[in-house]
């Protein structure tokens, strides 16, 4: 919403600096977005004194002028004849863009140098005269701006209004606030209507078929109108707020719209069939051409203004092409109505058509301002167009909008705000913005807001008015009083924190990616058709197709992040994300939101440094991260099983595992397959972990019981087993643990070897067993005999052999 200071001053005297005013308005809830100099477009136009005028040697109608523009004398070719030596005139210097859009350039006109242009009033949109050059007052100083020379100064104030303040979508609405803030009176424009002769009813009629959609419709008729350009003051007012002048009738409707906030429509009365207006809804599928020339496909919700034959306007949004004001229009029917805000909003939204009218109707216009605005328009139209007014007004008002009366408690106001305002202070704030206040008793007030304040419904709305007018910043700052309750922090928050810090400690940086991804992500991960991660939730109106569905895995985000980094040559990455995935359940039901923790490692294994051999990253590195996490979170009975089956086609077979705690699967870890790397345009091997955070939280065991520590020394014994390649280390470890030998304090695998001299399809696995007692020192022979027994059982169990020799 734009308002020019000069227009504002038609209704209220502003005796403070505009910057100060803007600040005060902002602090009262009308946020000023920008202040701009209305005449900034004249910056390149300066006053110049004509020091010499000579006829153009090669053109009868032109003359060559020498003009002193302060910084020198310019030669300018000019066609006007109203100027003489010594006159001060506006000079548009090269580079200046005129309101017409033309940019002035230095050049030659009929062979003579011309370094600028002398301008008429109309060329500078300072008036309508285009017959000659504008002559500036004698007081003008050559070289100074023409706006200053003419004493022109105006500021355009641009507001960013909140949707509740429809009352401020007009110059008078803003003026009302200014008057309240500055404590000065608001002067409404005086409306005096000529008494018409023939009653309007003899010419026209209005029928409302759908009063719920159109509670009120008023009209006046002006005859013998001459369509012409509007006088300069009216065009200037419209220009000042960025509206284009069209003709006197249309300009008046726009002027009154801006002045009062009430949208009006002017119909060419002679093009209204049967000279009647019918308000009804459209037929489903009906086509209507609005005055912008667009064919609109309507639904039966759209409210239409019709004549005796058919629709002539899309109510409250835009007029029709057929009944537009034309140059030969002589009789004008002016419409001023109150349309149901929801009706207008639905249609405007459905058609994607937002106009100055619809913007106001859908926020609610002043139901009692309908006729006032109509009268104002009729008055101006008669003045501008020299027309005659038909007597009387048509005002059909089948659904009166009830006036609101709200009871306000002084005490409750002060308690909600935390203030100590007196009853009188509250009354005076409310009265300053035209609220009518009646005192019921010491505490209670009966308040009737003005009808334009459609946003005021409850006592709290009144409290806000009091608060904003007395100043939010004057409200004392206090601390709430409340009982002290120590609340336990939720486990999942603690686990999240711990996970993040452990991963960061392992060198993994956290990433955050969008929750939406491209639908093709499942294909890129090679997921089977029946994979649950194909149950994606689609967004009806996505920003782009690549952000079209809610993610069902964090892996695409990690792989995409790896890709983005690889294009920047960031080749060594350790990254993780902790976030939700979304699994579709049913239509119109909320999806299942599951929190996951996923990580990716690619590139170097260690920070690069001097004199250290770079080791190749491998499966056991990423697995080690999972080990560390499980240990840090105290997850019980963790085991890994080689991934089999089609569940995780993005992981390389034989190089990936499922992570278990007891019998519960917690997630997966492994190397990404070459095909998937290719699908994400990646070249470098990548390893990932993908754990279900919900399971991790459940399994994470937070209670710690300290175990006793033996004070007797340990003795270690090794076994080397030659076993089948297929024998998994875990099974050997589990077996030894299962023997239940109390003196075994620990088992560790310290070497695995394949190749000569170990036979094919066999491997050597070297284990170190630690023996220790809680009660005494163990003797060598004791340990030897236990170890021999353990070795024998293990050999038998795994059909293993001891190495030769």
């Amino acid at each position: 919403m734009k308002v020019s200071l000069s227009w504002l001053q038609d209704y209220v005297t502003v005796d403070v600096d505009v910057v100060e005013l803007a600040e005060a308005l902002t602090m009262a809830g009308l946020e000023v977005d920008a202040l701009s100099d209305r005449y900034a477009y004249l910056d390149g136009v300066v006053a110049g004194r004509l020091v010499e005028i000579t006829p153009h040697p090669d053109a009868d109608t032109l003359s060559v002028c020498k003009v002193d523009v302060g910084a020198g004398v310019k030669s300018i070719v000019c066609g006007a004849s109203n100027i003489k030596k010594g006159d001060l005139v506006p000079v548009a210097l090269p580079g200046t863009q005129l309101p017409s859009g033309d940019t002035i350039e230095a050049g030659r006109i009929r062979g003579r140098v011309s370094e600028g242009m002398l301008c008429s009033e109309a060329e500078l949109t300072l008036g309508t005269d285009r017959s000659g050059i504008l002559v500036l007052p004698e007081s003008s100083v050559p070289g100074r701006g023409v706006a200053a020379a003419l004493g022109l100064s105006d500021t355009v104030i641009e507001f960013d209004l909140t949707p509740n303040r429809s009352d401020c979508l007009s110059v008078i609405g803003i003026a009302r606030e200014v008057a309240a803030i500055l404590g000065v009176p608001l002067n409404y424009p005086e409306v005096k209507l000529p008494s018409g002769e023939t009653p309007i009813e003899e010419f026209a009629s209005v029928t409302i078929e759908v009063p719920d959609h159109c509670p009120r419709y008023a009209a006046r008729l002006v005859t013998e109108v001459h369509i012409a350009p509007s006088p300069f003051w009216l065009r200037d007012r419209l220009n000042s707020v960025g509206l284009r002048a069209i003709n006197n009738v249309v300009d008046v409707t726009n002027f009154v719209l801006m002045e009062t906030g009430q949208p009006l429509h002017a119909f060419d009365f002679d093009r209204l069939a049967e000279h009647r207006i019918v308000v009804r809804t459209a037929k489903e599928g009906q086509i209507f051409t609005t005055l912008d020339g667009t064919e609109r496909n309507l639904t039966d919700e759209a409210l239409m203004i019709c004549d005796g034959k058919g629709p002539v306007a899309l109510a409250g949004i835009m007029g029709g092409l057929e009944s537009e004001i034309e140059d030969d229009t002589t009789r004008v029917l002016i419409e001023s109505a109150y349309f149901n805000p929801i009706t207008i909003r639905r249609t405007a939204k459905r058609l994607g058509l937002s106009t100055e009218s619809s913007h106001r109707f859908e926020r609610g216009v002043d139901p009692e301002g309908i006729v006032r605005a109509l009268d104002r328009a009729a008055q101006l139209m008669v003045q501008m167009g020299g027309g005659k007014l038909a007597a009387g007004v048509i005002d059909v008002y089948p659904r009166p909008i009830p006036e609101r009366v709200i009871e306000l408690s002084v005490d409750r106001t002060n308690r909600l705000l935390g203030t100590g305002l007196s009853r009188d202070a509250i009354i005076s704030h409310l009265e300053s913005i035209e609220f009518e206040v009646e005192v019921l008793d010491e505490d209670r007030l009966k308040v009737a807001p003005p009808t334009c304040r459609v946003d005021i419904e409850r006592p709290e709305d009144l409290m806000e008015e009091v608060a904003r007018l007395s100043g939010y910043n004057k409200i004392p700052t206090t601390q709430p009083v409340s009982h002290v309750v120590a609340k336990e922090q939720e486990k999942r928050l603690r686990v999240r924190d711990l996970l993040r810090h452990v991963l960061a400690g392992c060198g993994f940086s956290e990433i955050v990616t969008y929750s939406f991804i491209g639908e093709d992500a499942c294909d890129r991960l090679l997921l089977a058709d029946n994979d649950p991660r194909r149950r994606m939730v689609s967004i009806v109106n996505p920003l782009t197709e690549e952000l079209g569905v809610m993610r069902t895995s964090l892996l695409p985000g990690l792989l995409t992040t790896m890709f983005r980094n690889s294009t920047q040559r960031n080749e060594n990455l350790r990254i993780f994300e902790l976030g939700r995935i979304f699994l579709k359940t049913g239509h119109d039901e909320l999806p299942e939101e599951v929190e996951m923790i996923s990580g990716l490692w690619t590139g170097a294994k260690h920070n690069s440094t001097w004199n250290v051999q770079e080791e190749k990253l491998g499966f056991y590195d990423i697995k080690g991260i999972v080990d560390t996490l499980c240990a840090a979170l105290n997850i019980p009975h963790v085991s890994f099983r080689a991934l089999k089956g089609p569940g995780h086609p993005y992981l390389r077979p034989g190089h990936a595992a499922e992570v278990y705690s007891g019998k519960k699967s917690v997630g997966t870890v492994g190397e990404v397959t070459g095909q998937v790397l290719h699908n994400f345009e990646l070249k470098q091997p990548a390893y990932c972990l993908d754990l279900n955070f919900e399971e991790v939280v459940c399994l994470c065991f937070e209670e710690i019981r300290a175990k006793p520590i033996s004070r007797f020394p340990a003795t270690a014994r090794d076994i080397a087993l030659i076993v089948d390649d297929a024998v998994e280390a875990q099974s050997v470890l589990d077996f030894i643990e299962g023997l239940g030998q109390e003196l075994i304090d620990g088992v560790e695998i310290f070497d695995v070897y394949k190749g000569s001299p170990i036979p094919a399809r066999k491997k050597s696995m070297a284990l170190r067993l630690t023996y220790r007692s809680f009660e005494r020192n163990l003797t060598d022979s004791e340990v030897n005999s236990i170890h021999a027994a353990v070795t024998q059982k293990t050999l038998r169990q795994f059909k293993a052999e001891l190495p030769a020799g």
Binding site: E460, S482, A504
Partner: protein, 335 residues
């Protein structure tokens, strides 16, 4: 014995003083402190001392030995320091072998910092679904269908009744539906709006706050938010409260803080206003309390919401919000 020790010490120190090369010092050291050296002999000789004097002699001998050891070490260090030749020491300027260290995402760090402040104030953390019912995201917050306030937030739709939440405010409703006052919660989380440019991403983060009880006032809201801003930035940062509009609060306020970049003098970041808009807040609208069945005569409360990215950008001097979601490791490793 005592005399002998004293003599030995003096002799050793004198010889050491007279020696100016490393080799010489080492030879001397072997002579006096070596396995077969003078001092070892001395210590052995203690056994010949009468039993009564033995402890005293032992103490003395050890003292002398210690003093000599120090003297020899200092002599060698001094020679090393004077020496122009390579000493065989390490080039301590070579980089150490560091462990890789990961960082938490700046959004996480700021969220945690803000959460900490509220946890200390006795607030609890609540969460809610990202994919939300229209009812919770709008209707229960006093934003009916066809309300112009819906234009304030461009919504991603899943279906007519399901949306990606456009703010963290629906969590207020979910909490109030389940519990009765007093309530003190904050709710951090992801939110989504159809928007994308230098200052908008289609997904971003908010933190919501809600306090409901008896006699909670707008002044209290100012108090809590002042504490918050002072803890996030510093005590010098001033705040101003401007009237605004949110359908679910009345009165509503936008909260500006004095620009933390220019300290209110006016700069590019604050568009030369000296102020930065960082929070929306207000007293919970009675219509919202009615939706969750709270007694509006008894309870009042306040709610507020802030954008995490906005705070992170100010705190870390980031000028393009999209950087948070590009996840360039060179960006992430700065935090």
């Amino acid at each position: 014995m005592k005399e002998e020790l004293k003599k030995t010490e003096q002799e050793a120190l004198k010889s050491l003083e007279a020696t100016s090369d490393r080799q010489g010092v080492n030879l001397l050291r072997t002579r006096y402190l070596g396995r077969k050296g003078v001092m070892t002999q001395c210590l052995r000789g203690i056994s010949t001392v009468p039993a009564a004097d033995r402890p005293e002699a032992g103490r003395l001998a050890n003292e002398v030995k210690t003093r000599l050891e120090v003297a020899f070490r200092e002599a060698i260090e001094r020679l090393d320091a004077d020496s122009k030749e390579p000493s065989g020491g390490l080039d301590v300027t070579l980089p150490g072998r560091s462990f890789a260290r990961g960082r938490l995402h700046p959004i996480t760090q700021v969220t945690q910092a803000i959460s900490e402040i509220f946890l200390r104030l006795g607030f609890e953390i609540a969460e809610g679904p990202n994919v939300e019912l229209d009812y919770y995201n709008f209707e229960a917050l006093n934003i009916p269908k066809d309300h112009p306030a819906r234009d304030m937030q461009d919504t991603f739709y899943i279906s007519d009744d399901v949306v990606l939440r456009t703010h963290t405010s629906p969590i207020q409703i979910r909490v109030m539906e389940k519990r009765s006052p007093p309530i003190r919660i904050i709710a951090p989380g992801k939110v989504y709006r159809v928007d994308s440019d230098v200052s908008h991403t289609p997904m971003f983060h908010q933190i919501e706050g809600l306090m409901v009880g008896e006699n909670i006032s707008f002044g209290d809201l100012k108090g809590i938010l002042t504490t918050l801003v002072h803890q996030i930035f510093d005590e010098e940062t001033s705040l101003r409260f401007r009237p605004s509009f949110f359908p679910f609060t009345e009165p509503s306020a936008e909260v500006d803080i004095q620009c933390v970049i220019c300290r209110g003098k006016g700069c590019r970041v604050c568009s030369h206003t000296g102020w930065l808009e960082v929070l929306g807040a207000g007293m919970v609208h009675p219509a919202v309390f009615e939706m969750v069945g709270y007694d509006t005569d008894r309870y009042t409360g306040f709610a507020f919401g802030m954008g995490i990215e906005r705070i992170a950008m100010l705190k870390y001097g980031i000028d393009d919000i999209r950087k948070f979601y590009e996840n360039d490791i060179r960006f992430l490793e700065q935090f």
